[in-house]
Amino acid sequence: MDLAYTQEEQEFRARLRAWLGKVLPELPARPSPDDWPGRRAYDLGWQRRLYEAGYAGLHWPVDAGGRGATPTQHLIFLEETERAGAPYVGANFVGLLHAGPTIAAEGTARQRARWLPPVLRGEEVWCQGFSEPDAGSDLASLRTRAVRDGDAYVITGSKIWTSHAEVADWCELLVRTDAEAPKHRGISWLAMPMDAPGVTVRPLRTLAGSTEFAEVFLDEVRVPVANRVGAENDGWRVTMVTLSFERGTAFVGEVVACRRTLGELARTAKANGRWDDAVLRRRLGRLYGEFGALWRLTQWNVSESERSGGVPGIGGSVFKLAYSHARQELYEVAAQVLGPLSLSLEEEWTLDRLSSLSYTIAAGTSQIQRNIVAERILGLPKGR
């Protein structure tokens, strides 16, 4: 067990830190959540700068357009960018953190060459079309139908809660390609262009007032068979790869951001006198310890995947469970620090508090994560 970074890793950190110190001060603020096109442009712009400076797709394989760096270097990247307060991955979330890694792991050479470089260069945005109105936790019961017609699938159905759908170029889409097979066996994973005829996006308003997700209606949309990642009807297995990236690695950098927020909360509490409340102060202290431990858990998981060299394990569910609850607690404490000001939507922490409510739902609810942990890690019997 060794937490020390190698010479090479330390040099990498120092270079990155210096670069961030140079570019961040001149960066404008990210547009508000009402302005999704503005956010898209901003997020892609930041991704482009990362690409040009050599910091995009660090741990992706070289033949996938990445730099073949170790997962540890990627971890350093996440730590340093969050610590410096660099922009959030935003609209690039799906492409960089789970669709891209899935294509890198499961796609053909052609598919990797077509889809991965534009993600890294900040040219294309992806969204995730998994959930349907009647298939959320029970994802495998999805009904969106894809019928083969020559070299294309003709797709009809609808998706819901599709984050960034309004501004996305591509969608990682789950469809049913065999209606007769048992539900897990008849699914395929496709890359669908969002500008294809028959795709309609209807924004949904979130409880935070923003329109970050949408309903997507698919009316006889034609998608080339060549856009299928993995074999026909083998999409459930590919989906598990996507979900393991989503749960296992996609939230990692945020842990550092939460620690930064805690520091700001402590200083705010000191300034407004609430620090003298021992209960509040100790809650902050405890959270500081918890987020520190979650960062260590991340290092543990990264070391593990570095040794086994591949897709993150189901340990990601353990991390996701602990993290999503800690994050919600963080913003409950933030509200205590703010006092009545926590009612004002002008406070950043109020919006964060609202959005933190999604953490125990999105990417698999806490209840589903507990089922996974109990059945797949602890080996408890499946319920009837």
Binding site: M1, R282, A293, R296, L321, A374
Partner: protein, 306 residues
């Protein structure tokens, strides 16, 4: 960075687990509960012979020359076996109190607040104190942790950080063990025509036990590794505080959930789970309490960052 156990560390764990399974398995545990003999001098010397107490003494001083990370692994196993006795204090006394390193002496410490000290009747020495103080016995919640009330204690503050991280390791071992007990029982016990572990309410209790134990375990390993590599003493001690805080909670809450999974059986003297719970309570009061840990972390948080 490679935050995974080395081959040697894995072997060390397996060795200690074997030793304890052979020498302090369930029957030995129950026998000590029945007899009230907490510290078995023969076993203590065997532990000493196996390097349990001298683990971190330099080889030049007759020790094993390993670090805090290895000690944490060994203590985790002791916690899993629910091994009684002032393990942490004797380990800390190695090289300081004659006989501690070899396990010929039993050394306790004033690591509990409230004027209480554990294992005074069994001890040959008290860490940092000139002799054995007189004390009056107090009936203890934990049948394997006898307690005495003493008028005043010796200062152990220079040992607090290490004492806390080793105690946290004991807690993690216990938390993992009660998880195992709960999962096993949930798989065997049938109600309504199926194993209770197929019911989600039970499943989710178990899953939450794993989450607590895993987060605490990495926190404890990291605290040991970081403080040994001297990642800054303040950061080291706040990391240790966090480890103790999370490990105490994992041990206590896991024992409670394990008890719940065992239903009425869990409330009997027969089931081992109450022994884990009571010991976890004792350890939560040792070296660094939750309140102290939270205050230390809060102070560190305020002083950290710009």
């Amino acid at each position: 960075m490679d935050f995974q156990p080395t081959e040697e560390q894995r072997d060390l764990r397996a060795g200690v687990r074997d030793l304890l399974a052979g020498r302090y398995g369930r029957e030995a545990l129950r026998a000590s509960v029945d007899s009230g003999v907490c510290v078995d001098r023969g076993l203590w010397r065997e532990l000493g012979g196996a390097g349990f107490f001298a683990l971190r003494l330099p080889e030049s001083e007759g020790g094993v020359g390993l670090g805090l990370a290895e000690a944490v692994i060994v203590f985790e196993e002791a916690g899993r076996a629910l091994l009684p006795g002032p393990l942490v204090a004797t380990h800390l006394a190695a090289g300081v109190v004659p006989g501690a390193a070899s396990g010929t002496a039993v050394v306790t410490a004033f690591d509990l607040g409230g004027g209480l000290v554990s294992y005074l009747g069994e001890a040959d020495a008290v860490l940092g104190a000139p002799g054995l103080p007189a004390g009056s016995p107090v009936r203890s919640a934990d049948p394997l942790t006898p307690l005495h009330r003493v008028p005043a204690g010796a200062d152990v503050s220079s040992y607090t950080a290490e004492g806390a991280v080793l105690t946290a390791a004991l807690q993690v071992g216990s938390a993992l063990r009660t998880l195992e007990l709960a999962v096993r029982y949930a798989g065997e016990r049938e109600q309504f025509g199926q194993p209770i572990g197929a019911f989600q309410a039970v499943k989710h209790l178990c899953a939450q036990m794993l989450v607590r134990a895993e987060v605490a375990r990495t926190a404890v390993y990291a605290a040991a590794v970081a403080s040994a590599s001297g990642e800054g003493s303040a950061a080291g001690s706040s990391e240790i505080a966090a480890a103790k805080l999370l490990a105490d909670e994992a041990a206590v809450a896991n024992a409670r959930d394990c008890l719940q999974v065992h239903g009425g059986m869990g409330f009997t003297w027969e089931a081992d789970v109450h022994l884990h719970l009571k010991r976890a309570w004792v350890r939560a009061e040792q070296w660094r309490t939750a309140t102290e840990a939270e205050e230390l972390l809060a102070a560190e948080l305020l002083g950290s960052a710009p």
